[in-house]
Symmetry: C2
Subunit: 357 residues, 2 copies
């Protein structure tokens, strides 16, 4: 049985997971696996490595047989091989895992269904082949109609500045503050962490905003969807994706993400990263199309490239300039952002009650 | 032999055409055929109708046999049946045409290749089945790198406000002014008129800006690509497409298109159409990311919904407000826009020569 993860947005990955790392030795290529272990350790029973010198996520090494005995239900491909393709030794492991009845979960560019041996193994055992890069087939056209519930979207000055990390850290803070919330994933690693989502980059343009609308459906008035942003309005390759996601998400709050060391757009060296104020201004201006009340809830900065003694001043000056909390989510967490968000919402609720009473 | 129109962006439709109108009686559903006859009458030998009471494009009625005798090489589906699907009587005609060796050109939602009888007929005769909605398979990621040559993009306050018509009218004016130019199509009807192009709405988001970049490659310094716009930055369903196309097109000039009678966004009644100044401002601001020298070359208004005695004043007041020519392209043509564009470019060329000499 083969099934794409987001067919109805109800299809969910089946934990617990065995994270497959192949023979990867470079942490850059294992960040999917590392992200799952960091954010959902309770779902991870162990890792499967083809070499003892490879990446170690700090969870038990298990064989496929041991994993099955421990109740693992899915083998999650936690690596991005160079070129995105499956080498024969890696494919062999996937086939064996599928024949043991484990769902195979992959975000690779190559489709799992393109490998007949894997399809045969899955068909025989009843395992699912889940390509998290494949969007659902029945996405609607966007409408811009207002939905119930509250939404927060992370936006960026560029790609790869911490939008996923920030959204997860904000979710974690909301958990601590007992705020009703759901993390909504828009990329492959996010989907593996959340267990569902829509790979927004892979959607056909016509359905981009509609996909974003479906991702965060009507909800309780006090519920927050915390939506993983993609790209940047200032990245010439991906700004269209960012705008469609912004409109479809109709966020009440946006959190701006930035890498303190990034001076020009990734892979577009001729394009300078805008000031945070300019980036925020354009995001707010565009977001108003579908939510007139959108505000900025804070700024998340990757400050790892700054000298340690400059970090605090850098964050404080951004906070002073923009009038919102500014944190490095890896170092500080996002409590400052969530605390302010919660208090401002309760404040406006009280004011609404006054107005209505 | 089956081949998608834009495989290399070199694949071209084969004229002359027979326009197939089925049994359509409503002009709304025949605007693809009408557009081809209006803009490329020299390519159209005749029309094929299943009923004498159907839409008449004013070209000779021909049977398939007559069309073949007159040298027709492609049957172009000039209609959009309700639901976008092929009824059996329509499919029968396509199969017969393909068996006569005519290429079948379609912009319908249903894929021609999904019909085995049609595939068999095309395979036997060597005809091509060309789905103009299918983008090329090897699109790149956008880079934002500057290309040689000049580019004009039509942008809109909404969908369906005349962006394709305006781009074609501007091309026609450029022809008259002897300006080297190419009309670049981004939608199905535009592609049928131009004979090539990329259906930008159908591209996967990741490749949106890259598709727009490929659509208007490096060219001679004095050559203009006149690019058909899609959507609007203010349409909550399609703004992402518009932004990706804007960035990838890196226009030197944009022409803003508007329907004087449109008060709210099509299919999003809660979203008000912005002022022309606001729409222009956001387009220019975003366009600067990939072309710092972008300017507005004019405004094209569909004024058909205005009382005749208000039309001139309406256009004049827009022109005065924005400081650029404002025309109704159907009534006035676009000479005023092109004339000013050409003189401003020659002016800047002269000034460059002065600076360099």
């Amino acid at each position: 049985m083969r099934h794409d993860v987001t067919d109805q947005l109800e299809t969910r990955l089946s934990p617990p997971y065995l994270i497959f790392l192949g023979d990867t030795e470079d942490p850059v290529f294992a960040k999917t696996g590392a992200g799952i272990v960091q954010w959902r350790p309770e779902l991870v029973v162990g890792q499967l490595r083809l070499t003892s010198t490879g990446i170690d996520l700090g969870v038990p090494d298990l064989t496929l047989r041991q994993a099955v005995e421990k109740g693992v239900r899915s083998l999650v491909v936690g690596i991005a091989p160079v070129g995105g393709n499956l080498s024969p030794p890696i494919l062999d492991v996937l086939v064996e895992a599928a024949s043991h009845g484990l769902d195979i979960v992959s975000g690779l560019h190559t489709r799992l269904e393109a490998h007949p041996a894997l399809v045969d193994a899955a068909d025989s055992s009843g395992a699912r082949l889940i390509d998290v890069r494949v969007p659902p087939p029945d996405l609607p056209i966007g409408t811009g109609a207002k939905r119930t519930g509250r939404r927060l979207l992370t936006v960026g000055t560029d790609c790869a500045v911490g939008k996923k990390y920030s959204a997860l850290a904000i979710s974690e803070s909301m958990q601590r503050f007992d705020v009703s919330h759901t993390f909504r994933a828009t990329g492959q690693t996010g989907i593996m962490i959340a267990g569902s989502g829509i790979p927004i980059d892979s959607v056909v343009c016509d359905f981009l905003a509609g996909a974003a609308e479906r991702l965060s459906p009507d909800n309780d008035e006090d519920h927050w969807d915390v939506i993983e942003g993609q790209g940047s309005l200032f990245n010439p390759a991906y700004a269209g994706v960012s705008l469609g996601l912004l409109h479809g998400s109709q966020p009440d709050a946006i959190v701006l993400c930035h890498d303190a060391n990034r001076k020009s757009i990734l892979n577009s060296p001729s394009v300078t990263i805008p000031s945070l104020a300019e980036c925020l201004d354009l995001n707010i201006r565009c977001a108003r199309l579908t939510n007139a009340d959108v505000t900025c809830a804070g700024v998340c900065v990757n400050s790892s490239g700054l000298p340690v003694d400059e970090r605090a001043h850098y964050l404080e000056s951004i906070s002073a300039d923009l009038g919102v909390p500014c944190v490095d989510p890896v170092i500080d967490g996002c409590d400052a952002i969530v605390e302010r968000l919660v208090s401002s919402v309760s404040g406006s609720d009280r004011s609404n009650q006054r107005n209505n009473g």
